[in-house]
Structures are given as structure tokens and as C-alpha cells.
């Protein structure tokens, strides 16, 4: 899940993890930027580098969460291949581990995506995947393609060794039908522009683009035929006044003026949203999902509401979600 900063991609990623976990399934929600956005959203203590259950989905499913940390992932490797023992912690405190991951930005990305790949491929004793779906709250649109493009990152790394083979596995998973990159947008000019640019970049780099999720869709109240005129500032205040009077509301002129001003702003917004939607439809024939604006803001309860909205639009039913909204 990616999207321009401020579009709510973490929230949408969490809602998707919940939706995909419904009816007894199990999903993993992963973050990679050290922001502890998941913990804040679910109102829990900061997540350690460890998968743990953070929510029960409708119908008994389970969402687990993991905050991947590149330094911890690197130490995990050293533990595995070099038996570093207790020195790991000291090295970390010295800054040596951060230094090594900073030295090659590609290494950092390989470590992060490598952990995700490991979770995707992990199987239980019966050979079934441990997770029905893994939802990655990826970096924002500006950085997501270089983050996922492990092939390029591998140029930074030695051509042999455990991390190299890990990276090769990441490339395989990310470019396979197992993966879909979803983009969250708002119906505003800049987020739509970035979404379209990112769709092109992802396609060029060979990543399967999934769904465009239009977030915070707001209610439109004006009759369609009034929108264009109102957006141009033409609102019939006389008609509003008489309409209100017929409902028993006799409002002073100042209040009517305020209502007219609010109506014009509402119409300009609706007009702009329609134009943004048209640009999305015109440029990218991608499946689309919509999530409503939550006036009260997002809390744990409303995450379930958003998940429900996704399920209603077919998320979690493979045959339907392939076709999209």
C-alpha cells in the first residue's frame, strides 16, 4: 500500500488487513519506516520487531502486526549466518549496524523487503501459508518504486552471499502475481497526479499495480445540475431563503450569506473532485475502491467501519476483487 503523504495510506492498509482477515483468516500488517503508525492507529504500545496479534477481525479472523527494522533485520542475518552472539547489541549501540545499512541504501531496502518476503513464504507444519495475506504499509509514492525495486538495489551488494540470494527471492515475489501494489489517493489534484505518475513508474519497473483506493470520499449534497453554477459563484440566495422559510427557518441575511458562501465552497470542491475522478478514469483503467470520509476521525472502531466498506465492495472475495469496484 502506497500513496502520497497525507492521503491516509496507513489507515487504509490497516483497514485492508482487517478486511482480508475476516471470516477466520489471518493477515499480517507490516510497517517499515519506523514511524510506529500501526501502534498509534490501534492504540497500543510501540510494536517490537516481532509479529504480534493486534486485532480480531469480524467473523473471528486475526490481524498480526510487525514493525520491521532494518538494523534488527541485519543483526538477525548475522545471528543466523555468523553466530554473532551478544556482540550484536554492542555493535548496534556503537552505531555500526546503522552505519552498515546506511552505507548502501539498497541494503536497507533489501533487508526490509526480505523480511516481508519471508513472512509471505512462511508455511506451517501442514505446508499451508501462515498468512492468508500480508499487507505492507510501504513508503509514500515518491519513494515506493525505488524501495520495491530490489533488482536495482542489488547492484549495491556483493554478487554472492546470503543477502544476495534473499534479494533474488524478493525480486521473484514482488514481480509475481502474488503481489499487488495498491495506491491510496484523495480526489485532489496533487495526489491524483502522483498516483498516475506512480502507476506509470510501477508499470515500467514491472510491478503489478492493484487497485486505486480513493480515500475520504465526502458526501455531495447539491443537485448535480446546480454544481457547476454554484462553483462559479452563482447561487440563488432568494430561492434558498424561501426554501428555508417554508421549513419554518427565518434566518437573518448574514446567516443566509454565510450559507451561500459555504455552498459555493462545497460546489467548488465537488467540482474539483469530479475533475480529479475524471482524470483517474481517463488515464488509468484500474480497479477502484472508495472509502468514506469519517467526520469523527479514525479510531479503532472506525477502522472496522472502513474494513466493512472494503468487504462490501468485494475485498476478500478473490473472484470479485480481481475485477474491482
Amino acid at each position: 500500500m502506497s500513496g502520497k503523504g497525507g492521503t491516509g495510506k496507513t489507515t487504509v492498509a490497516a483497514a485492508l488487513a482487517l478486511a482480508l482477515a475476516s471470516d477466520g483468516r489471518r493477515t499480517l500488517l507490516v510497517e517499515v519506516e519506523g514511524r510506529q503508525g500501526i501502534a498509534q492507529l490501534f492504540d497500543t504500545a510501540p510494536l517490537p520487531y516481532e509479529e504480534r496479534r493486534i486485532a480480531i477481525a469480524p467473523g473471528g479472523g486475526e490481524v498480526r502486526a510487525l514493525a520491521v527494522d532494518a538494523e534488527a533485520a541485519l543483526l538477525e542475518y548475522f545471528e543466523l549466518f555468523y553466530r554473532l552472539g551478544m556482540a550484536g547489541r554492542t555493535l548496534r549501540r556503537m552505531g555500526a549496524v546503522e552505519f552498515a545499512t546506511t552505507l548502501a541504501p539498497g541494503l536497507r531496502d533489501v533487508l526490509l523487503t526480505g523480511k516481508v518476503k519471508e513472512c509471505v513464504n512462511r508455511r506451517d507444519a501442514g505446508g499451508r501459508p501462515v498468512y492468508d495475506a500480508v499487507v505492507l504499509d510501504a513508503p509514500p509514492t515518491g519513494r515506493v518504486v525505488s524501495f520495491l525495486d530490489v533488482t536495482k538495489a542489488m547492484a549495491d551488494l556483493a554478487r554472492t552471499g546470503p543477502i544476495h540470494s534473499q534479494a533474488a527471492g524478493v525480486v521473484q515475489v514482488l514481480h509475481s502475481p502474488l503481489t499487488a501494489v495498491h495506491l491510496v489517493t484523495l480526489l485532489e489534484d496533487l495526489p491524483v497526479t502522483e498516483t498516475l505518475e506512480t502507476v506509470d513508474e510501477l508499470t515500467a519497473a514491472g510491478f503489478p499495480v492493484g487497485t486505486v483506493i480513493v480515500n475520504r470520499v465526502r458526501q455531495q449534497w447539491l443537485p448535480d445540475r446546480s454544481v457547476a453554477a454554484a462553483a462559479g459563484g452563482r447561487v440563488d440566495s432568494g430561492r434558498i431563503r424561501s426554501g428555508l422559510a417554508s421549513a419554518g427557518l427565518d434566518l437573518p441575511a448574514g446567516v443566509i450569506d454565510g450559507l451561500v458562501a459555504e455552498t459555493v465552497e462545497h460546489a467548488v470542491r465537488v467540482h474539483g473532485e469530479a475533475a480529479a475522478l475524471a482524470r483517474l478514469e481517463e488515464a488509468a483503467a484500474l480497479p477502484r475502491l472508495e472509502l468514506p470520509q469519517l467526520v469523527e476521525g479514525v479510531d479503532l472502531g472506525s477502522l472496522y467501519e472502513l474494513a466493512e466498506a472494503l468487504v462490501e465492495q468485494g475485498v476478500g472475495e478473490p473472484a470479485v476483487s480481481e475485477v474491482g469496484s
Binding site: 503523504g5 497525507g6 492521503t7 519506523g34 503508525g37 548475522f78 549466518f81 555468523y82 554473532l84 551478544m86 556482540a87 554492542t90 555493535l91 556503537m94 552505531g95 555500526a96 552505519f99 552498515a100 546506511t102 552505507l103 548502501a104 541504501p105 515518491g142 525505488s146 549495491d156 551488494l157 556483493a158 554478487r159 546470503p162 496533487l190 465526502r218 458526501q219 449534497w221 447539491l222 443537485p223 446546480s226 430561492r239 434558498i240 426554501g243 428555508l244 417554508s246 421549513a247 419554518g248 427557518l249 434566518l251 446567516v255 443566509i256 450569506d257 454565510g258 450559507l259 451561500v260 458562501a261 459555504e262 465552497e265 462545497h266 467548488v268 474539483g272 467526520v295 469523527e296 476521525g297
Partner: protein
């Protein structure tokens, strides 16, 4: 009882004060920092101050409005502004190259710039943009040409990155670590090695296996070449940091009325306080003040009975939504001001539609300045 409203941020007084020499706009990504910076710069210039705005990554149309599509890494005059306004867009690679040339003799500078590792550092190291923004700010201030410098900050993961990145980069470039990693036996790290035992050698060996010998060799050559100029680098960074703490600087923390953005803003405000950096206030962008005094409940109830007047019913419903939204924004802001009661706030009502030209930016400036009155008239609680 509702909490005491925050003091209003008086933007014009701040911009007009000849002692205000630098305004830094910081905040989380997507809150309108670049727009705010540009709007403040135009307003300052049109109120008579010789102003330059340093933008980092402006959206295309904003860049065009400022004439930046034709300009590079040096300030260029914004001809359409009614005043002395210059604008520039940070080119971090070029700024870095220029710094190398300033601090090293030509031959060594060429060697550094040709090093593959330099290419990585100067284009994709996560702190480079912040470091170079600081460097550019230092350069602009050093010319003494400007009454006021307005600085936009890079679209970081976190607003704090702007303050932390230069330090991170200094630590990275100071060479101790790379010497340890590329030649742990010789690096004079014996005490250290004793400390971590064989662990460090193993780690160094592992890192070199993962990254490849060539990369470590490049990195090592780079750091060695860089060593002589490192002192100069660090001095500059320290000087710019001191500049940021001086009374001529004003930090504006920019946020949108969303929990994440306000949480970032709160972190940043705390951080500025602990670093003793001068905070001017919070700019809360894109608010939706209620323009008509009518409660949401009353509006919705009246709309129910208005089948015959669809326009009036729609107007009532959209008003009721707006009241709810304004209430929510007020609650979010109150949470912030409750924890940070001394911070002055400017609320900037959202402009419907896109800001694509200087007039749009002037309008943002108007709204920034007009919010002086909003303490006297707090958002109506139209319940």
C-alpha cells in the same frame, strides 16, 4: 468550560519586523509547507522586504508560478511579484558538488566527485537533502543580501529529520566507522575490539561479504579523500545550526487539522523547545470555519422536512456537515493547544480549488495574516 483559546499568531508583525531574518517552515509531509513558505515570502516582499524563498520540492504548478521552471540552484527574481521577491529550488547534488569544490583543491575535488560512493551519498543518502538545505540557507544568509529568507523544509518522514539529518550525516562522514569496517585490525580500534571481542571482526567480515569488497574500498577512498575537508563541513553545519538558534530566526510549524500532522507538530514544538530554537507559532492549514450561525442539529432537522425545496435542503445538509467538520478540527486543535498553551496559532481556512498562481498564493497570505482576529472570534461552536 472550554479551554482558553491559543494566542493568535500575528503573521504581519513577524514578517515586517526587521529583526526577523529567517523563517523556517517545517512539519509533516502533505500539510502545505511549500505553499505556506511561498505565500509568506510573497507577502513579505510585497510589504517591502527584500525576500528570497528557498523551496525544496515544489509541485509543478507552484514552481511555474514562481518562475522556477526556468531557474536553478541560485535565487531568481519573481518578476510578477509586486516587490523584491527571489525564489530558488534546492538542487542537492549541485549544492554538494559546489561544497566539495569550495573545500578541496581542484584535483582532490574531482577525485571525490568521481567516486561511485560519492554518487550514492549525494543522491540517495536520506539526510543529504536536509544537510544541503541547511548549507544553502547558510550561504544565503552569508551574502547579507536578504532582509528575509523563507525556508521550506524537505518532505521528510518526520519533521524532526530536518534537525537530525545534518548530525547523522556528520557522524557518517567522520570516518571512524568506515576505517573500522574496512580495516578493523589497523584502525586503532583496539580498545573497541576488546569491548566487543571477536564480534566486531565477524561483523566487519560479514558486512564486507554482503556489500562486496569494491563498495567498501570506494567508501574508504571517499572518506579518506573527504577527511581533509571534513573539518570545514562540520564547521559550516555548526555555524548554520547556531544561525537557526539565533533570535533572528523564526520557526513556523505547519500542520493540517489531522491527528498525525498535529502529533508531528507537537513533537517538533517540544524538540524546538529542548534545543532552544525560536518557535514563532503553529500554522494550521486547510481549516473549515463555520460561516453561518446555525446548529447542525437544527439544520438537519429542517432539511428533513424540505422535500419540496431540494436546493435549500442540500444547503442545510452541507452546512451541518461543515459544522461537524469544524467541531472536529476545533477538538484536534484544542488537544494540541491544551498540551502547548503558549504556542501562537494561525488558522488558514482551506481554499476551495487548487493554488496555481501568485494570486492564489497572495490569497493564502491574506488568510494567514487575517487569522490575527481569530482569537477574538474563536470558531463558533454552533451546537
Amino acid at each position: 468550560m472550554s479551554p482558553r483559546p491559543a494566542p493568535a499568531l500575528d503573521v504581519d508583525t513577524l514578517l515586517d519586523d526587521p529583526d526577523t531574518r529567517i523563517v523556517v517552515c517545517c512539519g509533516a509531509g502533505g500539510v502545505g509547507k511549500t505553499t505556506t513558505s511561498a505565500a509568506l515570502a510573497i507577502r513579505a516582499a510585497e510589504r517591502g522586504r527584500r525576500t528570497v524563498v528557498l523551496t525544496i520540492d515544489p509541485a509543478r504548478r507552484l514552481a511555474q508560478a514562481l518562475g522556477l521552471d526556468a531557474l536553478g540552484n541560485e535565487p531568481g527574481r519573481v518578476a510578477a511579484a509586486r516587490g523584491d521577491l527571489h525564489a530558488m529550488m534546492l538542487d542537492m547534488r549541485r549544492t554538494f558538488d559546489e561544497m566539495v569544490h569550495t573545500h578541496a583543491e581542484p584535483e582532490r575535488a574531482e577525485a571525490i566527485i568521481a567516486n561511485p560512493f560519492y554518487q550514492t551519498i549525494s543522491s540517495s543518502f536520506s539526510g543529504t537533502q536536509e544537510y544541503m538545505a541547511m548549507e544553502k540557507l547558510g550561504q544565503l544568509a552569508a551574502t547579507g543580501e536578504w532582509d528575509l529568507i523563507v525556508v521550506d523544509t524537505p518532505p521528510s518522514r518526520s519533521a524532526l529529520d530536518f534537525l537530525d539529518a545534518p548530525q547523522r550525516m556528520s557522524t557518517f562522514l567522520d570516518g571512524r566507522m568506515i576505517r573500522l569496517l574496512s580495516a578493523p585490525a589497523r584502525a586503532g580500534g583496539r580498545g573497541l575490539r576488546k569491548l566487543v571481542g571477536a564480534g566486531f571482526s565477524l561483523f566487519a567480515k560479514g558486512v564486507s561479504t554482503i556489500l562486496g569488497g569494491q563498495m567498501l574500498a570506494d567508501a574508504s577512498a571517499f572518506v579518506q579523500a573527504f577527511d581533509t575537508m571534513f573539518g570545514g563541513f562540520r564547521e559550516r553545519a555548526t555555524a548554520t545550526y547556531a544561525l537557526l538558534r539565533s533570535p533572528g530566526t523564526a520557526f513556523l510549524v505547519v500542520a493540517a487539522p489531522e491527528p498525525d500532522a498535529l502529533r508531528e507538530a507537537a513533537y517538533f514544538v517540544d524538540r524546538l523547545a529542548s534545543d532552544e530554537m525560536p518557535l514563532a507559532g503553529l500554522v494550521l492549514n486547510r481549516t473549515h470555519p463555520v460561516l453561518a450561525d446555525l446548529s447542525a442539529t437544527q439544520a438537519r432537522a429542517a432539511a428533513e422536512g424540505l422535500r419540496s425545496a431540494p436546493l435549500a435542503a442540500a444547503v442545510l445538509r452541507l452546512h451541518a456537515d461543515r459544522v461537524d467538520l469544524a467541531d472536529r478540527e476545533q477538538r484536534l486543535l484544542s488537544r494540541f493547544t491544551g498540551a502547548h498553551p503558549g504556542v501562537a496559532v494561525a488558522r488558514v481556512p482551506a481554499i476551495a480549488g487548487d493554488i496555481a498562481d501568485l494570486d492564489g498564493l497572495r490569497e493564502v497570505g491574506e488568510r494567514l495574516a487575517a487569522s490575527t482576529d481569530s482569537a477574538a472570534q474563536p470558531l463558533r461552536s454552533a451546537r
